[in-house]
């Protein structure tokens, strides 16, 4: 993992000192709320329905046990004993007092953490493949580039006051676990025929009111030219992105208005003028790369007797293995997915005790490495198969062993009307009702991969557009209704979902999902996921079944 050096620490100390001064000015009445707002937002502090919310950055979703324990401690000391992991792989506390915020920032800084640029019209937390450094699929370690972008984007002199927020994802595997195509910039590492490393650059994806799948503007960018090219994209956007209408200010609107070819032409023209001045020297890239040098893995047999025996003896463990254990690049190791989607719980929430359990496991069995996924789960990327039974037992005791990765109850949901001032409808209870419907794990496994994503309003923080089943809360004359979309995906087969039909009332949503699943089970052919069946049959059989009663 990347470790802060003295420069990173002093930079952070200067930032926390600045923030402490700003809060003091606000509390003394020297700053009005209007003046304070953009300053606190730069530090992740939102004013929500009930209290301040603090959004803490977890760069590329990577944590060490000390950091996770500190987050647990902050949750217990300054919040209600839990935190919420977000689709940007950040952690939010929802019950923060303004006067405590500077102290919290200092505690975070003590473990090299912060809340810089987790809000505001700037480059936000860069996300990366949560399996980085562990999966055999990747052709390079995307964290190297994500960390370099973290530094480059921190208090950037020219690009800190963009038309709107700006999100970048980077992955190096063909299986996209970052939703790269729904980002302002999605970067996919590739190798050219001659072995040279580069990026496919996709620009202008996004969800919200106007969902777009990002088009590719460059098939192959030499890796060492990344920063000059990013500057060219950001400069075109900073100058020409709309600033007259907040809903049309994202780069996706500019790319759509100009068209992919014209946008790409403008970027290339600017890039030529920029030259290679902003590109990072190879020495710095090598320094960062050194921080992500492969762990020391033991030479182990492919099969573990202890693991096989536990699987044979314990069906619950075997189910966990089927769903939550993923292949590691090194024989004898596995990637353990920790579900934060226990049936009946709020998706993405973890109590301080649960965070401590994961921190301990990461330390004891996981090479001090813990990841957060954009699907709001946690990952221990390097666990010996021999140790998986012990890890499972500890997770199970803490309510963290729900065997539902990528299954119907592994739902993304925004905080919704329970917390958020923008929401039209609740999202969390809808997720809970659906999960209850599929409490029967055999049935959930028979259904297989099915990604449900729920947003409580059109801002789409729950990514409903790219859910295999997407659910959007809308307000109809003061009542909560839900619009269903089918066939979306945020992965390498990215697409925006198709609207099923008229919105449904709150108490019919879970039943409708149940009906959709029944149609899928009836219609599916060998090996088809829900998404595949839907894409083959189209919306008709699903629509007919859900609205049958209404006819």
């Amino acid at each position: 993992m990347y470790r802060y050096d003295a420069i990173d620490r002093e930079f952070l100390a200067d930032r926390t000192a600045e923030f402490r001064g700003q809060v003091a000015r606000r509390l003394a009445g020297e700053l009005t709320e209007d003046q304070f707002k953009p300053l606190r937002l730069r530090n992740g502090l939102y004013l929500q329905l009930h209290a301040y919310m603090l959004r803490i950055a977890i760069p590329y979703g990577s944590l060490n046990p000390t950091q996770l324990r500190k987050l647990a401690w902050i949750g217990r000391t300054y919040d209600k004993g839990y935190g919420h992991f977000t689709t940007r792989t950040n952690l939010q506390f929802h019950w923060i007092k303004l006067a405590d915020a500077p102290d919290i920032m200092d505690h975070l800084a003590s473990v090299d953490m912060h809340a810089i640029q987790t809000s505001g019209n700037c480059v936000r937390n860069v996300t990366a493949d949560p399996y980085a450094g562990a999966t055999a699929e990747e052709i390079d370690d995307p964290r190297v580039w994500a960390e370099a972008m973290r530094q480059w984007s921190s208090v950037h002199p020219e690009f800190s006051w963009l038309p709107r927020k700006f999100k970048i994802a980077v992955t190096a595997a063909p299986k996209d676990r970052t939703a790269a195509k729904t980002h302002d910039i999605g970067l996919v590492l590739k190798r050219a025929r001659d072995g040279a490393l580069g990026f496919e650059v996709m620009v202008g994806g996004g969800l919200g009111r106007m969902p777009y799948i990002a088009p590719t503007i460059r098939e192959f960018l030499p890796a060492n030219r990344l920063f000059s090219y990013l500057e060219a994209i950001l400069r075109v956007y900073n100058r020409h992105g709309r600033r007259d209408n907040i809903h049309k200010a994202r780069i996706k609107v500019l790319v759509a208005a100009l068209g992919r070819e014209e946008f790409a032409r403008q970027v290339e023209a600017e890039w030529e003028k920029i030259g290679n001045g902003p590109d990072l020297p190879d020495t710095e890239l090598a320094r960062i790369r050194g921080a992500f040098a492969p762990k020391r893995f033991e030479t182990l047999p492919v099969r573990s007797e202890a693991f096989d025996a536990a699987k044979a003896a314990n069906p619950a463990f075997a189910r966990f293995v089927r769903n939550n254990l993923k292949p590691h690049k090194v024989p004898g190791y596995g990637i353990v997915e920790i579900s934060l989607k226990a049936i009946g719980q709020t998706p993405g929430d973890a109590s301080s005790e649960q965070m401590e359990v994961v921190a301990d496991l990461g330390e004891r069995f996981g090479q001090d490495d813990i990841r957060v996924t954009h699907e709001q789960n946690l990952v221990l990327p390097h666990v010996k198969l021999d140790d998986v039974p012990a890890v499972w037992a500890a997770l199970d005791a803490a309510g963290l062993a729900t065997p539902n990765m990528n299954l119907v109850s592994d739902i993304i949901a925004c905080p919704g009307l329970d917390y958020c001032a923008l929401a039209n409808a609740r999202a969390i209870p809808v997720a809970q009702h659906i999960a209850e419907k599929f409490r029967d794990q055999d049935r959930a496994e028979r259904v297989g991969e099915l990604k449900i994503k729920i947003s409580g309003c059109i801002n789409a923080c729950g990514h409903h557009h790219v859910g295999h089943i997407g659910i959007l809360g809308v307000d109809k004359k003061g009542e909560e209704f839900y619009q269903l979309t089918l066939g979306g995906s945020g992965a390498e087969d990215a697409a925006v979902g198709t609207i099923l039909g008229p919105a449904l009332p709150y108490d019919r949503v879970a039943d409708a999902v149940d009906t959709l699943v029944d149609v899928y089970l009836r219609e599916r052919r060998d090996g088809e996921r829900f998404l595949d069946t839907f894409r083959r049959t189209g919306v008709a059989p699903f629509k007919e079944a859900v609205y049958a009663d209404a006819h």
Binding site: D8, E10, R15, V155, P157, L162, R243, G277, E284
Partner: protein, 166 residues
């Protein structure tokens, strides 16, 4: 006269403004003036031929490329911030320095607050008309807030990736 802070050789101080900023609906007075791009394109040659210094004020949606061939004749490029959060002028400032090598004054006008000081200085501004009553000392403290920077920019500060190699 509004407060005008100048950055000269690394020092921040208050400075008299020898320029009169003239809006398009006013007659041009005697002496050195700052005028709009439109007006400069219509009357710039005449004003310059009278031997006075001329500055041009660019709005956020006007691009410095429009001045590319005139910069050697211009004394001041004033860049307007219509709103604190409008970041277009940072790009104009950076380009006027880096791409066009402009050595005259680059002045920040409009909704100019101390929270922008660091960004402005890094992008090449060397004159500021703060709207929040900041003194030069406050401005300087804000501009020097961070002991380290992560990017190369116009101010020539050593970025972290170079510091690390030293």
């Amino acid at each position: 006269m509004p407060t005008r802070i100048r950055l000269v050789d690394g020092r921040y101080g208050l400075a008299e403004d020898p320029f009169t900023t003239v809006t398009d609906d006013w007659a041009i007075p005697q002496g050195d003036v700052i005028i709009s791009l439109t007006r400069f394109q219509a009357e710039g040659d005449r004003l310059l031929s009278e031997g006075r210094k001329v500055g041009v004020r660019l709005e956020a949606d006007e691009e410095v490329e429009a001045l590319a061939y005139d910069l050697p004749r211009i004394a001041v490029v004033a860049l307007n911030f219509p709103k604190f959060g409008d970041g277009r002028a940072y790009t104009n400032a950076r380009l006027v320095r880096e791409r066009y090598g402009f050595r005259g004054e680059v002045r920040a006008v409009g909704d100019v607050l101390r929270e922008q000081a660091g960004f402005m200085v890094r992008c090449g501004f060397d004159a500021f008309e703060p709207a929040d009553g900041s003194s030069p000392a406050i401005w300087e403290a804000a501009a020097r807030r961070f002991r380290h920077v992560y990017q190369r920019a116009v101010d020539g500060r050593t970025p972290a990736f170079v510091e690390r190699g030293e």
